[in-house]
Amino acid sequence: MDRTVQVLGRQISHTDIVRVFVILSLSLCCILITAISLAQQTGAVYTQLFYFPIIYGTYFYPRKGLYLSGACALAYEVLSYYYVYPNPVDLISTTAQAILFILVAVVVAYFTEKVNTSEARYRSIFESSLMGIILFDQNSFAIKLTNTCVEDMLGYTEEELRSKTFTSLFSTPEEQRVFFERLGSSADITNFQTRFKKKDDEPLWVTLSWRRVTENMVSTSIIDINSRKLAEQAAEESAARYRQVTENSPTGIVILRDQKIEYSNPAFTQLSGYSPAELTGKDFLTLVHDEDRAEFFRFISTDGGKGDQPDIRECRFITKTGDTRLGALFFTSIVHRGVPALLINLVDTTERQQLKERIQKDTELRHGIISTVAHELRTPLQPIMGYLNLLTQDPKTYGVTEETRAILDRCAKSVDRESQIINQMLELSVLDAGKIPLTYSQVNVRDLLTTIVSTGGYASKGDLTIDAPEETVMEIDESKISVVIDSMLSNAVNYSKPPRKIRVSYQFSNAEQMHRISIQDNGVGITNSQLDEIFEPFNLPAAGSQVRKPDRVGLSLSIAKKYIQMHGGYISVDSIVNLGSTFTIHLPKIPPKAAEGGQQ
């Protein structure tokens, strides 16, 4: 750009000042030379000199040049009139000369103007173009010309760009290499996508088109496609991610349009046994089991209109090989490629169903085995117990001495215990099968505790206190909860040594809305590691071996836990080794539905 100076409030460039000075001095010289030549009568040969300032002036400043030509013509005319008057021939010729000045100026101005406007138009297009334009030398790659768009795009100034080579604009050597390849391959290229490097080193996606304007000059147009490209990349990435998810999904995914399969993922392809090609365009209903077809059709028809709410159904499918598979599926209405479609997610539940049936069968079988075993174990106990009873009831008849009778009593006790173990084993097996229903009734807590304590004779075993309000009632299955509390008390007695201190207390938890019955003892306690095990079948606390072998089996706590769970409650244990344990039964104030109680 030119340097400028401030003259009368206007910016005037040095070039203009020089030009104006040259033009004006030339014009002045011409006038002076003309005046001298006229005065000395040397002829009109110097009039042609006027063309220099006129053409020069009109060329650079068409409009002002016209004024200049007018001024020059006037000056010439005045001088000529002064010297040649009244010779009519000379007057006519000088007038013609002056008019010729103006005509020449007009012609020059006209063409200059024309050239200038087209150049201005071109320049404005070039400058204001939304496309970046770079002109570079094909041999040196030196940048010859750029427009503002390029400057804005890359963040360089015009000077900075002019000092660079075109090839240095590329983001990576690889992109440079591809450019060279393309440049060498053919003359004109359109829509060559590549990345430029901005001034701040950020890559910028652009499309280049170029053509050779001269032997060595190449004009390149540059379009910024960065945002589009980034959006495209993001879309591609999300599409790739989506594809990856669908393709690797263990769930079968199918897209239906008018019941025809538009897309199926590998999981579904595998399930169906068909190839993807066979599936595409296939009527989905033909894959559905005959008996489920009507139901399935109703399902997709109603839910199709309902929109986003997925709903799960189970349905049988027929594979290519004719096998029947069971699938749980849900639908979502989607827009696929601009058209409403149905997205089906499908999980093969055949194996789960089979497993469920097998577990059911196993449970029934186990229950059957336990029942039979119990029957077989109990039957021989009957004669033993019966004869023992007979001998001890009537010792004289059978000649039984006092000493023998004591021995027989112990035998009877063992039979009792054996029988109890079998009963508990059975109880547990029935509980596992979920076959025992609960019978709820309103039970007074205090009465319940007192009855259990007196029936079990626990008061005689140590210092036993019952702390329960008189009026409180619970809605429970009395017989089941009695069994639970009784086994807790039995444990409290059996896992402690005299002097025993046992406290049975009731509290109501407002926060939980639960009844709490605690049985606290001063016994051997339970270690942390044993806490989890004591509710497992046949896990007698190891501490048990330290005291007299109790009349107790390892199943009572397992049964207690199950009973309490059936009531919707739980058992918690606090224990310190050698100081004692507290078992707390938590029972909800409002029991779960009695009908459901037995299903747990």
Partner: protein, 124 residues
């Protein structure tokens, strides 16, 4: 005349024991080891009470009971299920027979006495 108690039981040792126990309780035992025989006996000459085992061949205690109750005159004859099988109560609940009781094996002398007495009282 002493009341007759029919014991239907296929386990020989138990049958022997019941013979002794029932006699001791002051009743007259009739011991039969299968359902069809017992059914014929009961129809012919109804006893005061039947002690009935469940797991038997050729017919089970339940089948025996069904055939017994089919006879109008035997609908109120007290029967005590005398079984080592679990879940007898479940089946009993579904039958809902007021003249049906249960004793689980192994049963003690005292339990047997109480059971029989209660069953007989119910009929009176």
């Amino acid at each position: 005349m002493t009341k007759r108690i029919l014991v239907v039981e296929d386990d020989e040792p138990i049958l022997d024991l019941m013979d002794l126990l029932i006699r001791r309780l002051g009743y007259e035992p009739v011991l039969l080891s299968n359902g069809p025989d017992a059914l014929r006996y009961a129809k012919n000459d109804p006893p005061a009470l039947i002690l009935l085992d469940i797991m038997m061949t050729p017919i089970s205690g339940w089948e025996f009971l069904e055939k017994l109750r089919a006879e109008p005159s035997l609908k109120t004859l007290p029967v005590i299920i005398f079984s080592a099988s679990p879940s007898v109560e479940e089946k009993m609940a579904s039958i809902n027979d007021p003249f049906l009781g249960v004793l689980h094996k192994p049963v003690s002398f005292v339990e047997l006495r109480t059971g029989i007495e209660q069953a007989l009282k119910k009929q009176d």
